[in-house]
Symmetry: C2
C-alpha cells in the first residue's frame, strides 16, 4: 500500500536536491558519476517511474489520443480501434475511447470531456445523428483551439482536417460490375436513407455501374431502409421489408447491400422463398464483418480494411502532432477496397 515514489522522496532520502535526482536519472553530465550511480541504484530499487500526469502538465502534451466512435460492438469499428491502438503504442501513445452511441449530444459531451487537456488529438467517425443535424460546431471549435482531428469513414466535407476514407463509390461500383459480369441484369439495392455519406456514395456507385452497362435504373429494385431503426434488435422488421421487395420484384437476380446485416438478411429471406444462392440470386455485401465470412453460404463482400484505416489515421494524427508548425495542408487518404469473392456469387 506504499504510494508511488517521487523525485522529492528520493532527494530527501539521499540528501540531495530534487534537481540533482532528476538530472542524475537522465544521465546529465552535470552530475558526478558517484552521485549518478547512487541515485540510479536507489531509483531502481524503489522502482521509480516518472509521473505521467506531471510530465503531461509540464510538457503540455499528454501523449494520448482520443478516439470517438459511434459504436464499439461492431466489427468494423473495433478493427479500427485495433489499428489505432497498434500504431499509437508503437509510437508511444495511449488511446482513450469515447462512444457517441450514434448520438449528437453524447458526441459533443465526450469531446468536451477529452478536449480539456486529456488528449493531444482526436480520431473520430461522425455519429448518424450529427450527420443528420449537420451541426459540426464542436469539430470546428476543437480544431480552432489547436487540437487536430482525423476523421475516418464517416467524414464531412465542411470540416477541414485530415481524413481517411475508402472509396465507397468505387467499391460499390466494383461490386455491381461483378454482378453484371456474372450475368445479373436485375440487381436489387438495399441501402439506407441518404444522410450518411457512405450510404449515398455506395448508392451512386451502384447507379453508375448500371448506367455504364446500359442497364436502366429501376427504382422498384431499390430498397431504402430507415437506418434509425435498430434492425439488429428487430430482425423481423428488416426481413419483412426485404421480403416485400423480393415478392413484388420476382425477377431480381442479384442483390447489392450497403452493409453486412442487410446482405445476410437478403440471403436468409431469399432462401426462405425457395431461391438458392448463388444460382437464383447472387449477393454482395459491403463490410468488414464476421457474419459474411461465417455465413452459409459465405458471402462475397467489399472489404473495408478497418484496421488499416485505424493505422493510417493514427499515423496521420501523430505525424501532425509531432510536426508542429509544418505544412497546414490537410490530406485525405483513400484506402482501397477489395472484392472478396466467396460463395454467394459465381
Amino acid at each position: 500500500m506504499k504510494r508511488k515514489i517521487t523525485l522529492k522522496q528520493i532527494a530527501k532520502e539521499l540528501d540531495v536536491s530534487i534537481s540533482t535526482v532528476s538530472k542524475a536519472l537522465r544521465n546529465s553530465v552535470e552530475i558526478s558519476e558517484d552521485t549518478k550511480q547512487k541515485v540510479q541504484a536507489f531509483a531502481k530499487l524503489y522502482n521509480y517511474r516518472p509521473n505521467n500526469i506531471a510530465l503531461s502538465l509540464k510538457n503540455r502534451k499528454t501523449n494520448t489520443i482520443g478516439i470517438i466512435i459511434p459504436e464499439i460492438v461492431h466489427h468494423f469499428f473495433s478493427k479500427v480501434i485495433r489499428g489505432v491502438e497498434l500504431v499509437a503504442n508503437q509510437r508511444g501513445y495511449n488511446v482513450i475511447v469515447g462512444l457517441s452511441n450514434e448520438s449528437f449530444s453524447k458526441e459533443v459531451i465526450n469531446m468536451q470531456m477529452l478536449a480539456n487537456g486529456s488528449i493531444d488529438g482526436f480520431i473520430l467517425s461522425i455519429s448518424k445523428e450529427t450527420l443528420q443535424l449537420q451541426d459540426y460546431h464542436h469539430f470546428e471549435e476543437t480544431i480552432s483551439q489547436g487540437m487536430p482531428i482525423v476523421m475516418f469513414d464517416r467524414v464531412v466535407a465542411e470540416i477541414e482536417c485530415d481524413k481517411v476514407i475508402i472509396d465507397d463509390f468505387k467499391g460499390a461500383k466494383t461490386a455491381v460490375q461483378k454482378l453484371i459480369a456474372n450475368g445479373a441484369r436485375n440487381i436489387g439495392l438495399i441501402t439506407t436513407r441518404d444522410y450518411v455519406s457512405v450510404g449515398k456514395l455506395r448508392t451512386q456507385g451502384y447507379m453508375e455501374a448500371l448506367e455504364e452497362h446500359g442497364i436502366d435504373l429501376k427504382s422498384n429494385l431499390i430498397l431504402k431502409l430507415d437506418d434509425s431503426k435498430n434492425f439488429e434488435e428487430d430482425l423481423e422488421a428488416l426481413e419483412s421489408e426485404i421480403r416485400v421487395l423480393f415478392e413484388s420484384e420476382q425477377k431480381i437476380d442479384a442483390i447489392f447491400a450497403v452493409n453486412e446485416l442487410y446482405a445476410l438478411s437478403a440471403m436468409k429471406v431469399a432462401r426462405s422463398l425457395g431461391r438458392s444462392i448463388p444460382k437464383d440470386l447472387q449477393v454482395i455485401g459491403f463490410t468488414d464483418g464476421v457474419l459474411s465470412k461465417h455465413a452459409t453460404p459465405s458471402m462475397t463482400t467489399i472489404s473495408q480494411h478497418g484496421q488499416q484505416m485505424g493505422e493510417k489515421a493514427a499515423h496521420l494524427l501523430i505525424d501532425r502532432l509531432e510536426n508542429e508548425d509544418e505544412e497546414e495542408s490537410y490530406t485525405t487518404v483513400v484506402i482501397s477496397t477489395d472484392l472478396i469473392e466467396r460463395e454467394s456469387t459465381f
Copy 2:
C-alpha cells in the same frame, strides 16, 4: 489556433488575482456578486474549462480507468467495454484501453504505461499467455502500489482483488442438461486445452451434467483443441478437426461447444456430412456473439452478458476508488448466465 484559456489569463485580463478567478468560478461566498458576474461572464465568453491534467495532478486523481483486454475485435470484449464505458461516463470517468493481444509482455508493458499516474485503477481480463506462464507479478505490484484492479471473465485465484465472472460451470451444466432433456445421449464436447480457467470450468460442467444423469463419460466424444492456433484465420484446420470427430463417432447426437466459433463450425461440418440440425444433431454454444444469432439455423447459446459484466466491473472499481479506506474485503460477483433457446435445439 488560439490556445485554451487559463485562469491566469483571465486574471490578467480582468486585473484580479488567480485565486479570485478560481473562487468566482466556483461561486465562493468569499467573492462579491459583482466580481463573480464579471468573471463568470468573461469565462463563458472565452469558453473556459479547467485543465484536466492540472486537476489530476493537484487532486492526485485522474478520473480515468484503464481497461486491458486480450483482444478488441471480439464481440464479448467489445460488449464489456461498452458496459464499462457506459457506467464510467455516468460516474464522470474516462476509459483508456490497452490491448494485450493475448501476450504476456504486451500486458505488462501496457499496465506499466498506464500505472504511472495516467489512471486510477484497472479493469482487466488476463491474456492467455499470462495464464499459461502463471506469472502474475505485475498484478501484485500494481495492487501493492495502491492501485485497485477488477478482473473479469478470465480471473485467477492467486490474486486478491474484486472479480466479475460468470458461472461457467453452471452455465455449461445447464446447456448439457438441456441437451439431455431433449433426448441426447451421446453429447460431444468441443473445448480448449485446460489452461484458460473458463474452458476448464465449462468442461467440468459438462462432465457433472452427464454424471448426474448417469451417462458415462466417453473421452472419445471430447475434442480438445489447441487454442493457441488462430482458428479464426484458418477455418479449414478447425473444421477438419471437427470432421474427424464426427466421422469417428457417428452416434453423436448433440454438441456442446465452449465458444461460438467451435459451435458454428460444428454445425457447418455436420450439415456437410448430411446431418440436419436440430433433427440429427443439436448444438449449444457458449457465448455472447453475433454469429449464433444470425446463423442459419440460429444457435441456442449460453449467454455471457458481456455488457453487464463490464457495468458491474466498472461499478466495483469506482466504488472502491471513491470509498478509500473502507472495507478491505474483496468481492467476487457472479453474473448469471441464460440459456437462449434458438433453432439449433428442440
